[in-house]
Symmetry: C2
Subunit: 293 residues, 2 copies
Amino acid sequence: MLFQTQIDLKMRVITKVKEMQKVADELRKEGKIIGVVPTMGYLHEGHLSLIRIAKEKSDVVITTIFVNPLQFAPNEDYDKYPRDLERDVKLAQSAGCDIIFHPSVEEMYPENFLTYVEVEKLTKVLEGEFRPTHFRGVTTVVAKLFNITKPHIAVFGQKDAQQALIIKQMVRDLNFDIEIIVAPIVRESDGLAMSSRNVYLSESERKDATVLYQSLKLAEKLIEESERNSGVIISKMEELIKSKPTAKIDYIAIVDPNTLEKVENLSEGKEYLIALAVRIGSTRLIDNTLVKI
Amino acid sequence: MLFQTQIDLKMRVITKVKEMQKVADELRKEGKIIGVVPTMGYLHEGHLSLIRIAKEKSDVVITTIFVNPLQFAPNEDYDKYPRDLERDVKLAQSAGCDIIFHPSVEEMYPENFLTYVEVEKLTKVLEGEFRPTHFRGVTTVVAKLFNITKPHIAVFGQKDAQQALIIKQMVRDLNFDIEIIVAPIVRESDGLAMSSRNVYLSESERKDATVLYQSLKLAEKLIEESERNSGVIISKMEELIKSKPTAKIDYIAIVDPNTLEKVENLSEGKEYLIALAVRIGSTRLIDNTLVKI
């Protein structure tokens, strides 16, 4: 508890768009470099690593905490998504965050909201096949958050590899003058990728959930042992995952990390993204690894 | 010719996105207010009025000159759209413009361009019915131009009333921190609204083209005389326009100026937008008027 009492709990939490823009303008006029870390809150060590990276690269770190309804489908977990602002404020501050932007849904999506940012192609595969409106929600809210926090740099996690790629594409195409940094996945000691959704898992599901990471390690090992056929690698991953009673696979894919196009045979000297989504009970988890052949 | 020689023809013309962003950043750091006037060039008195308004409201006026392929359908006039940069530079400067941003198509839409900004509902009616991908092209390029020129204010013409409304909606929804100013239509002495496309008209078509304005004046007169039924007003406008041999009506509509929803019966105290699109020969012209009852 000593640790917590050392933290100034009066870190600035801004809830209004206009105020955030004004603060960002002032910071920029003072010559400060602004780094933003967009999150949906319920921060874990993964988020904190993003904040630390932002802090290294900028003078002022803004963490946005907003559970964005636009990126959830009606059947998804928007309502039960975990929220704990007080805890988030403390954790963010401990990692070096200077300002929290935490708007209401009404502040972000006032009545008669009609505008969407959409990235084609990259949003239709992998996650996009299972969550067809998800990335439209992500790019729209991130475009808004960029216009609200006016950052020089923004940090995203490689855990959401497809999201990071889509954001980079949006930034390039719409000429946002922002450097996008993608930070490595942070894992629990048994390999499970950190995720706010991990709290949904029961004790036995939590054990089964390690199979995502184990299947990625298996793929890496097979490739290390010179397997070059994606079909073979994916079958062996499937076999391993299916050994867990609570696991149901949405997809496993080996793709070009820039185009997300599926690759049948792996070539020397190239890099590939191995990505998967698995439901453990009713909790949908994703994970991925980048493999250089 | 004396007039032209007085103008410094070395006004800064920037063609690269990164350079424009750097210049905009520097201006903002110096505390300068940036005003932008997005155009497709071939400037006329209408554009110049926008530049003059921008100059009144800001320290530095950037005029963007870019014939945006994304807002033309394949069957439209992208290729033949009139272009004359040298003339535009002189005219813009004479009106108070400080910087021209004039990128190439490749600079704005590099290979593998995938991101679009789309406003729903407002883009589906009036012009949107006849040009289904037009406004997606407009909002996408304007979002880009805003991120490139980083303005505090932007000036658009009421001539494109639907476009101005859609831009305002985009700015509100995506939280662009930019004030949008909509400037009145500038007309030729016989009432024809200024448009770069007027150069397409033959001598006889040019005469017939005044019928757009005449029909709007007729509508205003009918309303002045207490006509409140949109159907009656529109029929009389149609009748007048059809009296011109080269004219073909795309639409005439009386709508709510904020929602663009059609209105059957006009109510006291309210404002309405009367908008029309008419093809004169092969040239498609639009015009509109705002009427307060």
